[in-house]
Symmetry: C3
């Protein structure tokens, strides 16, 4: 049992127009009245595991050690998909085993440093007494997370799992003269966030190379360092706050202005050495 | 005065685009800095007492004993409608006396076990110093709830009330061969939640009877036990997470696919004994 | 260092469909696990400094002394606009220096009583280790506010600032027979909230004067004391919960019914003495 309050975050596709999220909080607080619950987002598009996977990956670094993250984007609820808890980089992830940890696992494995422990959730002692087939967020994920926050050891939740379900995350080829990335998230401001990380960008280009970034009909040939560096209404490329290449419009909405959707490509092409 | 933090939930039709909800939280925390505030939902359709009544009824079981629920869906604010606190099944409900507790009261009375104590909110010592005619959520309900959370006894809030305003909740006739239910809530996934409870459903049918469930142009003849039991894109009937009959579409949106609205009927008809 | 938990409120234009707000909360709780975070609103229209300025001004009175308010509506992020902390009327405001405190400052100066201390945020010891050019909410405002909540003195944040950026707030002329106000906020119910304060209204009119209030094609000649005082579906004028003249429709939506937008005028005209 630990003394200090534990943070539990929630990432779901439940929206906030129903009481589903409030009910999960009631379940958590019934078990651990000192849990500190933080909404990460409830606006994951319904059953969109990719966006959930990216969201939790991009956000978890900003939470303290020991934080417990519940992710419920769960098209397979009631089927035989497993439920899991994964212990990655000093944080716990409580979720269906449907690939929602793919970005996290990939990143943790690339870093190589930390052990990843995962268990299948199987100990019904940590569930609500009645478990529905339609709302495991309430009946399983919330109470298991609350018990974890009270100090229940991972091994009590269920047996170890070695292999987790993975989404296919498109690999980016940086070996040629052209790099093809994808828009993986469009935020409320219409900023187009790509899967081109700062590391990938820098591995592909170097200081001496000229390049063109093409997104829809926008052609850009430099990275801005701030939105305000571009003219009002002009598209720009920037290494965004999630350390990914973003296409934005200063004072405007790139999604609307460029007519681009999630999944569409952003292409970077080398166009010769700087003189 | 009790020591442990008390949970106060909020159910309103205020939305979250204005600061009304944030202001209520400021009022609560000014009075009891240790209150733990949980948003149940702020997306009740404006002035829709029926949906508020169902929402609080379906959610309150998942909160710990002693929880204080504020419900502000209040078309009569500033008129002479009463404000009340009701003590039902170890929880407190702070709200206008406009029928918003109807489902709760009906259920508690059916169970018969617990005393229901209600008082009219009349002791201005527990209001904000200035009371507007337009925002009792801020001026009356929030501060009264906060004082309750500090241990103020119910009797200090105002005099007992014996009869509360009730909505007419349609009774379902299970005596014949046809049962007519109603869609009472459509959730973010487009699931159509009916007023047909598990108990009502089982009282109407038995294991030996064949039946047809008709919702719009969908005709279903069994209960699924999970969304994933139906083909992708197919409508299904399921005893949902709120223990009510739901019509859903696996991987889709039943509201859009069947073109049904809140208030429309779902009909179950017996079609003979199983052989 | 103070013992009791400190309230930190958030007012942004980030919406809640992305994880930006959740990430700010993670940053705050990483620094001060006991901070109590309250969402004021995240639905300020993108980069709308006027609405943010009015929102924080109208809400802050309802929070306890010592509350720290973060306001991030920041079209100039990454440019050379200053970031500031202002200490006004026993509360702290952490925000870009872009005019978002204009209403507050104007009101505090009119009252004349309290000293206003402002500092430029310059001490990087209170930032996140890495500061992006696009998300100062996460990298600067959240951590500075969290450190303030731990008791860091204002003077440690940066050097004093004497002059803050101001929006031009339209002054209302009450000297003639006609007063021209403006709709400054439309809330979720479609209520049209004007910049005509109770004080201004009463300075312009007196008990013996007849008047006409014109908003779109609605002509009103009295103040209602409650929404419920008007017929259902009828427009009305009322001194609203924010102590500003509001145009509303009882049981309806004035924005839709009158076809008015933010920025449009509401005109009050004296039409003779009462007999």
């Amino acid at each position: 049992m630990n003394e200090r309050p534990r943070i539990i975050t929630l990432t779901t596709d439940f929206g906030t127009s129903d009481t589903y999220v409030g009910i999960m909080k009631g379940v958590i607080l019934s078990i651990n009245p000192k849990a500190q619950i933080v909404d990460l987002t409830h606006a994951i598009p319904p059953q969109d595991i990719y966006e959930a996977a990216f969201s939790i990956y991009a956000a978890r670094d900003y939470f303290p050690k020991g934080t417990i993250h519940i992710i419920v984007v769960d098209p397979g609820v009631g089927s035989d998909r497993q439920a899991i808890v994964s212990h990655i980089d000093n944080a716990f992830f409580v979720c269906p085993d449907n690939g929602v940890l793919s970005y996290l696992l990939h990143s943790a494995e690339s870093a190589g440093a930390h052990p990843i422990d995962s268990v299948a959730i199987q100990n019904a002692a940590y569930y609500l007494p009645e478990v529905s087939n339609t709302f495991h967020g309430r009946d399983i994920f919330a109470p298991v997370a609350a018990h974890l926050s009270l100090g229940v050891p991972l091994g009590d939740i269920g047996p170890p799992v070695k292999t987790l379900v993975r989404l296919s995350i498109p690999k980016i080829d940086t070996s040629g003269d052209t790099l093809i990335g994808q828009i993986i998230k469009i935020d409320r401001f219409g900023n187009l966030i790509t899967n081109i990380s700062k590391g990938t960008f820098e591995a592909f280009l170097n200081d001496d190379v000229n390049y063109e970034i093409r997104a829809g009909n926008a052609s850009l040939n430099r990275l801005n360092s701030a939105y305000a560096d571009a003219e009002i209404g002009e598209p720009l490329a920037i290494m965004g706050s999630l350390a990914r290449l973003e296409i934005a419009v200063n004072g405007g909405n790139a999604e609307k202005q460029l007519g681009l959707k999630r999944g569409e490509t952003v292409v970077i092409r080398k166009v010769g050495q700087k003189i």
